[in-house]
């Protein structure tokens, strides 16, 4: 069973998002996504300062066998990336909601509106069942 956390919101491409403070939103991939990918061995992080669009690719995640796009769940500017993932991509498998966070994005416009477009925990749970 994949873990879905109550306080997060989710994209249909299996990313999660949560407000850190003000306009800043932290994003990562879900427990379901990491379990589907298998042993993750490589992460191409988004570039610092880059503008990203909700639903567009901002990087990639590779397991032994596959390459998957990393889609941004929100639009905005990349403020921070999780550099630990460069040497420890397995954090994405082990703790996708904590040590495996991927980036922090400063959302353009209303945060409520941006996150409001994403799925609640209940809806995401239904999606992956």
């Amino acid at each position: 069973m994949s873990e879905v956390r109550e306080h997060l919101v989710y994209s249909e491409e299996h990313e999660w998002a949560e407000t850190v403070e003000g306009q800043v939103v932290r994003v990562g991939i879900t427990d379901y996504a990491q379990s589907q990918l298998g042993d993750i061995v490589f992460v191409e992080l988004p570039e610092l300062g880059a503008s990203v669009l909700a639903g567009d690719s901002m990087g990639s995640i590779e397991s032994v066998k596959t390459v998957s796009e990393l889609y941004s769940p929100v639009s905005g500017k990349v403020l921070k990336v999780n550099g630990d993932l460069i040497d420890q991509p397995e954090l994405l498998n082990g703790e996708p909601y904590e040590g495996g966070w991927i980036a922090e994005v400063e959302v353009e416009g209303s945060v409520e509106e941006a996150l409001g477009k994403l799925l609640s925990a209940t809806k995401y749970q239904t999606l992956i069942e």
């Binding site: 298998g38 061995v41 032994v64």
Partner: protein, 375 residues
């Protein structure tokens, strides 16, 4: 959409919660049982059991069977004694590859061919079109199951479920009419992982019993079921070619680095000989080499490779090596760029990233196994 085919072991896969099946050339096969890394490590360190029942088995029978195989395959069948197998290739007249396969000599007038699952129909047609004399070709793929027990502990595990002298079996030798877990089997010391191991051919109906008994017998040695994902990373590290990637109708065996299985000097003509002889004399235009990423990135199948501002080839297989944790690839490159340490650039997601030509195979097992392996 045609229905996917399944091996006789498919019902047993459900017992593994992390099992994931994929469509592999029309077959629904397990890519992993636990996780590729864990399964890969098991085969390098202890042992793994693969269900490769999707592979094709043909019988070739007749007084002219040897002459027929001599003409169809690149290796020298006349060097085989009964109880011996060899790796070989079927080629087109232009030197491109129809398939790579194993030929088992059962007796003077009977052989078994083991071919790739995705090529069964193509190979059968190709061979049928060239039959000579009294030779009869039969497809036994449906009624034959194949288990591959691979890894350093394979011999001691197998010894527990058979009275046959399997520890004395040299590489590429086999026992016909053997008994494994009380069932009739053909057991050969062969495999596709770069480790010691055995391949066990069975009647389909016997496969579930033997699968379960082998796993039980090997439990204390760390034997686990292993999927196609690990099979691919294991064979990749050992630079064993995969048809459709390192070999194809557009790639010759010489280019793919399996020239030692092309016996240009053997007695009798074979299909593709003239073209391959010409290619050898003229010099190879390109060659399969190992590459390692210098920049951060993982090479993957079909990624283009550049040097001196132009494309000089492409990656045939690539991954992060589970044994070595290096980002490695096999690449078919223009001959001018195949020297060790040559700098090349792999295009990964629109960016050209630096790589270098390195030694391959990337992995070689250290211990020798079986009497035939000793010098």
């Amino acid at each position: 959409m045609t229905e996917l085919r399944r091996t006789p072991l498919y019902p047993l896969y459900a017992g593994y919660p992390a099992v994931r099946c994929i469509d592999f050339g029309g077959w629904e096969l397990p890519v992993q049982f636990y996780g590729i890394q864990r399964e890969h490590d098991a085969v390098r360190g202890q042992a793994g059991l693969f269900d490769v029942s999707h592979m094709g088995e043909f019988r070739v029978t007749g007084q002219y069977a040897e002459a027929f195989l001599q003409r169809m395959t690149t290796n020298d069948v006349s060097r085989l004694s009964a109880g011996q197998a060899q790796y070989t290739l079927l080629c087109y007249p232009d030197g491109g590859v129809v398939d790579d396969l194993l030929v088992y000599k059962l007796s003077q007038d009977q052989y078994m061919l083991v071919v790739n699952a995705s090529n069964i129909d193509k190979d059968f047609t190709w061979l049928s079109e060239h039959l000579i004399g009294d030779v009869v070709l039969e497809n036994h793929s449906e009624q034959t199951a194949l288990l591959a027990l691979q890894g350093p502990a394979a011999a001691q595990i197998l010894a527990r479920v058979t009275a046959e002298p399997i520890d004395k079996l040299a590489p590429f030798h086999f026992l016909d009419q053997a008994e494994v877990c009380g069932r009739k089997a053909l057991v050969s010391r062969t495999g596709y992982t770069g480790e010691d191991g055995f391949e066990i051919y069975l009647d389909s109906g016997d496969a579930p019993h033997v699968w379960r008994e082998l796993l039980r017998a090997g439990e204390t040695d760390g034997l686990i079921p292993t999927g196609l994902g690990a099979r691919d990373t294991l064979r990749f590290e050992a630079k064993l070619p995969l048809y459709g990637q390192e070999l194809s109708k557009d790639i010759s065996p010489l280019e793919a680095g399996v020239g030692m299985f092309v016996k240009l000097a053997k007695e009798g003509d074979f299909i593709g000989r003239e073209a391959l002889e010409r290619q050898k004399q003229a010099g190879l235009p390109r060659k399969l080499v190992g590459i390692e990423m210098v920049d951060r990135g993982i090479p993957r199948s079909h990624y283009p490779v550049f040097a001196d501002g132009r494309q000089v080839g492409e990656v045939t297989t690539g991954t992060q090596s589970p044994t070595l944790k290096r980002n490695l690839g096999l690449a078919l490159l223009d001959i001018a760029y195949t020297e060790l340490d040559t700098e090349v650039w792999v295009e990964i997601r629109g960016k050209q990233l630096k790589a270098a030509v390195v030694k391959a195979p990337f992995y070689k097992k250290t211990q020798t196994t079986g009497e035939g392996a000793k010098p």
